[in-house]
């Protein structure tokens, strides 16, 4: 199978969806001739023209509103929020309108739109361009929340999201855009709500999301050399969340470490932890469920401070060792 980048996988998904379905279009800032701030939409303007690759003024409420209004009248918009942080300017349209419209109208409207958001730290973009805000949206019934961690997942999940009849918040990680992996050329979908067992192991279950899946895999290589076999599970979609593989894994390993980049307090790790506690896996735990997450702080500019504000490979290794060796 051919290897392409996460960014190319996303672009291919958009291209194939647009070729297949005339109702699909992309709307956002600098997505046309500029190709998107991170290059995801590069070349799409040439193929589809400005009627379907729509550059907007800097109007994030307008972008989100355009998605809501077009979706409810039969189109399938894909909105792009250039840096996920800017979604704060779209919140009313996404949370008050897009998420609730179907319910408020008695189940009589469909809102098939995808909002793509470039998320995460590690690029020196500081506190207003580096946040991980996915959990805000997990807290809003009516939305679905997706966080792909690999090129394969990026394409399959984006194609699923575009086919969805509900609003989907699709969080892409900036550090993943250039990572490569095997991706089929043809169209395929990965159902929303299907966790992925990324690596099998028997000593410890790591539940990781987005860029943390990659870091957990690197940590697992090192740990394997020490005889610690880690099982890694990537939920891929935070809402709907497929807990079954997580529970099954913990029943096997007895230990759980949850890793995400977003700040720990109020982060999705708490939700996964609670889901474990409420399940039959509780009786199999032989250590407390641990969370390794971003520090409770805005992302700093300084390279070293930024590095230490979110979990890195060595932090995962250290935390995994402690858990397996009974430090807790």
């Amino acid at each position: 199978m051919r290897e392409i980048s996460y960014m190319e996988a996303l672009r291919e998904a958009i291209r194939q969806a647009m070729e297949k379905d005339e109702r699909v279009f992309v709307i956002g800032e600098d997505i046309g001739i500029y190709g998107g701030a991170f290059g995801v939409t590069a070349g799409l303007l040439d193929q589809f023209g400005p009627q379907r690759i729509i550059d907007t003024p800097i109007s994030e409420a307008g972008i989100a509103g355009a998605c809501v209004g077009a979706a409810v009248t039969g189109m399938r918009p894909i909105g792009e929020i250039q840096f996920s942080d800017f979604v704060v300017l779209s919140m009313e349209q996404i949370v008050m309108q897009g998420a609730k419209m179907r319910f408020m109208f008695g189940g009589k409207a469909e809102l098939p739109f995808v909002m793509r958001l470039a998320s995460g730290s590690g690029t020196g973009a500081a506190a207003q361009h580096s946040e991980s805000l996915e959990n805000w949206f997990v807290h809003v019934p009516g939305l679905k929340v997706v966080m792909p961690s690999s090129p394969y997942d990026a394409k399959g999940l984006l194609l699923s999201a575009i086919e969805e009849k509900n609003p989907v918040m699709f969080f892409e990680h900036k550090l993943l855009y250039k990572t490569k992996g095997d991706v089929p050329e043809e169209m395929y979908t990965i159902p929303l709500g299907q966790s992925n067992v990324v690596r099998e192991g028997s000593h410890l279950t790591i539940v990781a999301m987005s860029v943390m899946v990659m870091r957990a895999q690197q940590a697992a290589e090192t740990l394997a050399k020490e005889g610690i076999e880690v099982e890694i599970i990537d939920p891929r979609t935070l809402n709907p969340l497929d807990t079954a593989p997580i529970i099954k894994s913990i029943i096997k390993t007895g230990k759980a470490l949850i890793v995400h980049e977003a700040v720990k307090t109020g982060g999705f790790g708490g939700e996964i932890s609670a889901a474990i506690m409420e399940s039959e896996a509780f009786a199999y735990l032989d250590a407390p469920v641990r969370r390794l997450a971003g520090l409770d702080m805005p992302i700093p500019y300084n390279r070293n401070l930024e590095y230490h504000s979110v979990p890195q490979v060595e932090n995962i290794i250290e935390e995994a060792r402690k858990l397996v060796k009974g430090a807790y």
């Binding site: 307008g62 077009a70 979706a71 349209q93 098939p112």
Partner: protein
Amino acid sequence: MPESKKEQLIGGVLEVSRAKDLLAKMVLTRAFEENAEEMFALGKVHGTMHLSIGQEAIAAGAGPTLRKDDYLLNTHRGHGHFLVWGGDLNRMMAEFLGKETGYCRGRGGSMHIADVESNNLGSQGIVAGNLPISVGVGLSIKMRKTDQVVLTLFGDGASNEGAFHESLNMASIWNLPIIFLCENNQYAMSMAFEKAFKIEQVSDRAAAYGMPGVTVDGNDVIAIYKAVQNAAKRARDGNGPTLIEAVTYRWRGQSKSDRQLYRTRDEVKGWMEKDPILRFAKLLNVNDEEFKKIEAQAKEEIRKAVEFAEASPEPDVATILEGIYA
């Protein structure tokens, strides 16, 4: 059109029978809202409501200029527009009382009443929340290459939200078929127009977005009809959006908790003397006797709708989670 025929048109635009239908809708809207107040006072209504009493001319003048396949994006004060758009009184009353037979199965209430099937995309609980949505509807029309138009309603208060500016700009740069109709009823809750604006009229803002802006007497059905008709033609011909400001007055408080400390009784009384319903009745030469008949008819329709709604089932709690996801 021959002169003789033209003379029979009210204000040069409306046939007498159609005008009388609209008068009846205005009377029905007021009867609906007076009844709503009464039911609230009797403790029969669970939530709040926003009454458009005194503003009925705008709904009567705006909706009838449009086609059945056009789109409506309504405000929280939108009972009149809903009725003129063809809303069924029974289902509307049932929604108001939170019943399963209501337009939104009792999930939306007065503030979110919608009928997607008739392209009525709902009333709005967030001030200016419908303006960005209308941009999307306009884009959708353009991409689907139909000649539908969008009627987007909002108040003077919404004109000071950021969403207003983003939406008017986007609609204008893309020539979207949208009629932005501002119901300037002088108050954003308690904030008086002259305290919230440094300009004389909301329509002045149209210039900033490169679209026509007009201000009309919001208590004059014919003036509104003509302005919306012009804007609809412009939109349908692919020439883009228009901002219309209809100047009117909210007779009642903002909602049910309003003690109205921000205005004088004399001011309210002065506007009540400019009652848009009586004014339109006079224009149609409807005499007292005929008017009383129209009122009696409206009250009877309301009575029947209340009967229907009260006899309708409550939503079953077993269905509580329905309608969140498709």
